[in-house]
């Protein structure tokens, strides 16, 4: 049996991670404004995808209403900043607490009577839609007309989280790095083992003494709080908040595409998936606009989702890892074989 974290793999993972983030940092310093703005979205959705990945890939709970948590984070930042001039840092924290408690109450409502699986997934959509309709009719948060941030003054203000596109790129990069390192850290901790056990077989985990009810609420509220932080930054980057785009079904789908395409439950999956899917979506929207075919990007996303689940059910990233191993495997196997002969 292979050990879970052997040292060689460990070193490769660290090297790979550092290389990837060094390249992404260089991109932020050198690339042109279009690439910067596209990559900011990619990195934000990496983080949002990581939060969704934590909930399904590690915790085993399917959410199709992650837009609810993203929207709560966005509105907390937006309302506090636009209406009262309070720093977005406070808004982010408020949003995380708010979304965490909403996530916990949805989880409590559903799990207290052992309602799980599909019912829980449907409940998350219903809650997100209910919130979207409520926010669309609520004048205080801008209703359908949306909430607009004042245009940035140009200078970088860390205390107010305001700056130019490049500044937000590095904020998104920091967030993505934090998401990846945090997930890696959690998945190796006690909680990670408990949550994966719960994901694979809830009854067995409970038989071993895991309080699955509490752990499910914990994983969901943690994921919701992460999504809210991502949503707050997303609102700052976009400069405006509309209920249909920040809390709609479309956003929930955008959040889950990254981890599904990249690889569920893996640490790098959301990054790889977002890198593949979001530029493709932008390309297809641009192509659809110029050819006057409005639904082209929907068709592409649909085909990509179906074919990933069909042909690469565990996503692109594990396939890449398998490929690397297959390339490396023959020489080492041969070496090992020859040494055995010598003995």
């Amino acid at each position: 049996m292979q050990k879970k974290f052997d040292r060689g793999v460990e070193r490769t993972r660290w090297l790979a991670g550092i290389t990837v983030f060094a390249v992404l940092g260089l991109v932020g310093l050198l690339a042109n404004p279009y690439v910067i703005s596209l990559m900011t979205i990619v990195l934000l959705f990496t983080f949002l995808g990581q939060s969704w990945n934590l909930m399904l890939g590690i915790g085993g709970q399917l959410s199709i209403g992650h837009a609810l948590f993203v929207g709560l984070g966005a509105y907390s930042v937006g309302v506090l900043y636009v209406r009262y001039g309070i720093s977005p840092w406070v808004g982010l924290l408020t949003g995380m607490i708010l979304a965490g408690s909403v996530g916990a109450s949805i989880a409590w409502l559903s799990f207290r009577f052992e309602v799980r699986g599909i019912y829980f997934a449907l409940l998350t959509i219903a809650a997100a839609e209910f919130a979207r309709i409520m926010f669309s009719g609520w004048e205080f948060v801008g209703a359908m007309q949306g909430l607009f941030f004042p245009a940035p003054s140009g200078g970088i203000e860390i205390s107010m989280l305001r700056g130019d596109a490049r500044f937000y790129y590095f904020v998104a990069l920091a967030l993505a790095a934090l998401g990846i390192i945090g997930t890696e850290f959690i998945s190796r901790s006690y909680l990670g083992y408990v949550w994966r056990a719960m994901r694979d077989d809830e009854s067995a985990a409970r038989a071993l003494g895991v309080r699955t009810f509490q752990h499910k609420i914990l994983v969901i509220s943690l994921s919701a709080a992460m999504a809210a932080a991502g949503g707050g930054v997303l609102a700052l980057v976009q400069g405006s908040i509309f209920p249909d785009s920040i809390m709609g079904m479309g956003l929930s789908v955008d959040v889950l595409i990254g981890p599904v395409v990249g690889g569920l439950g893996t640490t790098f999956g959301p990054l790889v998936g977002s890198l593949a899917a979001i530029p493709l979506n932008h390309l297809m929207s641009a192509l659809g606009d110029s050819l006057r075919i409005p639904g082209l990007n929907n068709i592409t996303y649909g085909v990509v989702l179906i074919s990933v689940v069909w042909f690469l059910p565990d996503g692109i990233w594990p396939a890449i890892v398998r490929l690397c191993k297959a390339i490396q495997a023959p020489p080492t196997a041969w070496l090992w074989h020859s040494r055995k002969v010598e003995e």
């Binding site: 199709i64 699986g117 839609e129 009719g137 639904g295 082209l296 068709i299 592409t300 989702l305």
Partner: protein, 289 residues
Amino acid sequence: MLSLWLNVLASGILLGLVYGLVALGLTIIFGVMRVVNFAHGEMVVFGVYIGYWTVRLWNVPIIVAAAIAAVVMFAFGYLLEALIVKRFVNRPHHYQFIVFIGLSLLFSGTLLVAFGPDPRPTASQLSFQTVSLGLVTLDLARVQAAATAGLLIALLGAYLKFSPFGRSLRAAADNRLGGLIVGLNIPRIYAVTFGIGAACAGVAGALISPLFDAQPYLAVDFTLLAFVTVIVGGLGSFGGALLGGLVIGVAEAIAALMFTPSMKTALPYALLIIILVFRPRGFFGAKEI
């Protein structure tokens, strides 16, 4: 005042029957195959477009349009199951959900490409005619739609209850492995089930085509409406879908009368959350999902 309330109640019940038919399609597919059809709203919109085009091109009565929608959508659902869905039936729930989200994006994209994003007002003259019954005045389109939907629900119920095929379908729903052991043709049953579910959605779409403008973006609303209806009624339950449809239809009608129009769309969700607090599996929900 009384006549106003009666009118609202009656039109809510009539539309509720059609919602019931939509939800029935979803619940039959779930009950037999344990799969949630996320693309159900798109299938309703396919039905709306079938209703729109048949009435516009050949000027046929809406019942004929519904029959055409039933045949077309049954074939569509059957083929969809046999070609794509069957590969995912035994996969974990979240994979199925993702496949169906993909299908729903694919279908809504296709609708957008084919018909464009602009709403098309109905060509049917039916939407202007009314019938009067004492205090109550009703849209003829609504009455026809509800009568057809009610009749179809009854026929489908009888078919599932009494026909040999309906019996084997229920057996497959009860116990898939047992069905396989006694020699049921499970793949065929699944394909037919999916066809029936799609046909329910399509017929409901064609029936309401005189009431709604044909528009691709309706799909999301119908998917969510069907979800809410089946959760209220209980996933996988025949009577639950019907009851859920009626409850949602009446609740929407009353909300539109008592509150602002935006509350009309929010009320089903509020109702859902209230029901989940007291009966988390809906009125007639299955014990194990």
